[in-house]
């Protein structure tokens, strides 16, 4: 009897369940062609398909794999934006996250500090061992929110992890740097952002999609920080001129060389 109690205590002490928060952003899928909206400062959203930002998806998957490996723990997902972000949060729930928090605001500000302030206010006091981000969102590509949140929370930050492991009170991560890699060790709680290559996001199973509907979704007003940075103007890259086919076979090579030298001036 006593032995059983000892074992139970030992187990819960040894593998204290980790609590991980993953902050995810809803972004347009990048494979379509984009148009600029009439305002000139944003993308025209009509007809776009939306999903979890790629790097954030890797972060969700990495978080789920860590808790599965540890055999204990929970992954929470947080997203800031209008009501539609709940769909993105539910996708993360359908992958296996335990609960979601929607920080509600009408538009997602461009200023990363405004977003980071709201996220930090929510994360503060949440008891998270690890707060995870994607390395950057694939739409605005600032790569700044995670770093700012770490600063606001006073936590160590590892930016761009390609490998990640956590155990009692500390973590290790690998970062890819120019010409090599770097292995870092950090104390928990910490903030990390995730690079590609860490894990391919799983497909939500159909049962996962059904189960997601029943998982808790907290909705709170986003406590945005001051917006001091706005987009003034957006433009599209200049259209590429159409190619020209000179012909086929060896006979056209001299003409090709002549054009590359005299017209394109590349050789």
């Amino acid at each position: 009897m006593g032995g059983t109690i000892f074992l139970v205590n030992f187990f819960t002490m040894g593998a204290a369940p980790v609590k991980i928060a993953v902050c995810i952003k809803r972004v347009p899928e990048m494979d379509g062609a984009f148009k600029i909206a009439a305002s000139g400062t944003a993308v025209d959203e009509t007809g776009l398909k939306w999903d979890i930002s790629d790097f954030d998806g890797y972060a969700v998957e990495a978080a789920l794999q860590m808790t599965e490996k540890l055999g204990a723990g929970e992954v929470h997902v947080i997203s800031l934006g209008p009501d539609v972000v709940q769909e993105t949060l539910r996708k993360a729930l359908s992958m296996g996250c335990a609960r979601a928090t929607h920080l509600k605001c009408d538009v997602v500000p461009f200023d990363p500090f405004a977003i980071a302030s709201a996220l930090a206010a929510e994360l503060q006091g949440g008891g998270y061992d690890l707060v995870m981000f994607g390395k950057m969102s694939i739409d605005s590509a600032n790569g700044a929110v995670g770093l700012m949140v770490a600063d606001l929370l006073g936590m160590p930050m590892v930016h761009g992890c390609s490998k990640l492991d956590i155990a009692a009170g500390a973590g290790t991560a690998r970062r890819e740097i120019e010409g090599g890699g770097e292995l870092v060790r950090f104390s928990l709680p910490a903030v990390v952002s995730i690079d590609e290559g860490i894990a391919r996001p799983r497909y939500p199973s159909l049962k996962g999609i059904m189960a997601a509907k029943k998982k808790p979704m907290d909705v709170k007003p986003a406590q945005l920080g001051p917006v001091r940075l706005t987009v003034q103007k957006m433009d599209l890259p200049a259209a590429r001129a159409a190619g020209r086919i000179l012909g086929e076979g060896a006979a056209v090579v001299p003409e090709l060389v002549r054009l590359l030298q005299q017209e394109a001036k590349v050789i």
């Binding site: 999903d51 769909e87 539910r90 359908s94 939500p204 159909l206 999609i209 059904m210 509907k213 086919i245």
Partner: protein
């Protein structure tokens, strides 16, 4: 989205869209990279089965208490659409497993049969096939000669054979439809769950197929197979029982064919915009635009038919005749779209690297199985005239 010209997405629930997107992502990653070669090799990619099970694609509209996903019928249709966007053979596997084997066990089976078979079939651990067609009885299954005779102890002896059986050579269990006790009338037809390792059971793959090459199609022979008393599906009775299964499968096929059509349309649209001939993209010529406009129009019409049919099925008010209309229209539409897409592609359209010709050839099987196009014409004809033109 070019392929959602009528904003069908707006008529789907968030959950239905999430399911469609998840299956689509799986097909893009797992099926599309390998299917062209599997088709050329004449190989069903059975390595995909465990994943299809884990993702919940098999028997997805059957209840959760039997290990299934418990989805509505629109979601089920969307799964079939996305699988057939990959290949009709992959969708055929799922149709047979879900609608033709799991469904009759669910609808006509005993509680013991359901608990024993459905969870492992949902996982893809147990594979099933459905034996109705015989060499001499295709469109007219009521003439079947496969016979099961009840023995004094309640067990059964099965003799006969089936033809054109999808999954036949890899199945663990076969739902076999047979007449009983020497009665030649179709009312004596009952369903039996036959383990394929039974003594007297043999399966041989049909060779030389030019369609559905990434799918196994087999001939089954039953020679004095001794089946226990509990092999019979107790609630099955008459030809109506297998026809109920076919109604389920045909419903899914009406969605599946659309997936094949969409794949062909999208492939040839992208090609038309990039292929330059006479100094401009071929998409800029009126003939190709009319071709694309026709494809788009037919796909949109089919989408509306299947979506509405799915809502009727979910409401419990759909009829087999409505399913016939959808199967007949959508499959015929898809064969036309696939052929036109292949033609638009020019020479590259004959390559396995492109999907159009593979889909085009596959759809000829789909046109023939689950009630040929003609048979559905007769069903609709009878429904509107009240006159039977079958015989």
């Amino acid at each position: 989205m070019t392929n959602d010209f009528f904003n069908i997405d707006g008529s789907l629930s968030e959950e239905e869209r999430a399911i469609r997107d998840s299956v689509r992502a799986w097909v893009n990653d797992r099926v599309l990279p390998i299917i062209g070669q599997a088709y050329v090799d004449g190989r069903f990619p059975k390595e995909l089965i465990p994943e299809m099970g884990a993702q919940g694609f098999l028997g997805a509209n059957l209840p959760e208490e039997y290990g299934c996903a418990g989805l509505n019928n629109v979601s089920y249709g969307l799964i079939m659409q996305e699988l057939e966007r990959g290949d009709s053979g992959i969708r055929s596997f799922a149709s047979v497993q879900g609608a033709l084997v799991m469904y009759p066990i669910y609808a006509f089976g005993s509680e013991e049969q359901k608990r024993r078979l459905l969870p492992s079939m949902a996982k893809g651990e147990t594979i099933g096939c459905f034996g109705l067609t015989e060499p001499d009885f295709g469109s007219n299954p009521s003439g079947m000669i496969t016979m099961a005779r009840e023995q004094a102890d309640g067990s059964w002896i099965l003799n006969g054979g089936k033809m054109w059986i999808t999954n036949g050579s890899q199945a663990h269990v076969s739902v076999v439809w047979a007449k009983t006790n020497g009665d030649p009338d179709a009312s004596s037809i009952r369903g039996f769950v036959v383990p394929t390792n039974s003594k007297g059971f043999s399966a041989r793959d049909q060779k030389g197929k030019l369609s559905l090459r990434a799918s196994d199609t087999s001939e089954l022979v039953f020679q004095d197979i001794h089946l226990p008393a509990d092999a019979i599906l107790p609630k099955s009775g008459g030809l109506k029982s297998p026809l109920m299964c076919l109604t389920q499968a045909r419903y899914g096929i009406s969605w599946g064919a659309m997936g094949a059509a969409m794949a062909c349309y999208e492939e040839c649209l992208a090609y038309a915009k990039n292929r330059v001939m006479f100094d401009k993209p071929i998409a800029g010529f009126q003939i190709q635009q009319e071709r694309l406009a026709d494809m788009l129009t037919e796909i949109v019409k089919a989408q509306l038919v299947s979506l509405h049919l799915g809502r009727l099925k979910d409401a419990g008010t759909f009829t087999p005749q409505q399913v016939s209309l959808a199967k007949r229209n959508n499959v015929s539409m898809a064969t036309d779209v696939a052929r036109e897409a292949r033609r638009l592609l020019g020479a590259v359209g004959i390559l396995a690297e492109y999907g159009a010709m593979r889909h085009m050839a596959n759809l000829e099987s789909v046109y023939t199985y689950e009630g040929t196009h003609d048979v559905h014409s007769l069903i609709l004809g009878q429904a509107v005239t009240g006159l039977n033109a079958f015989n």
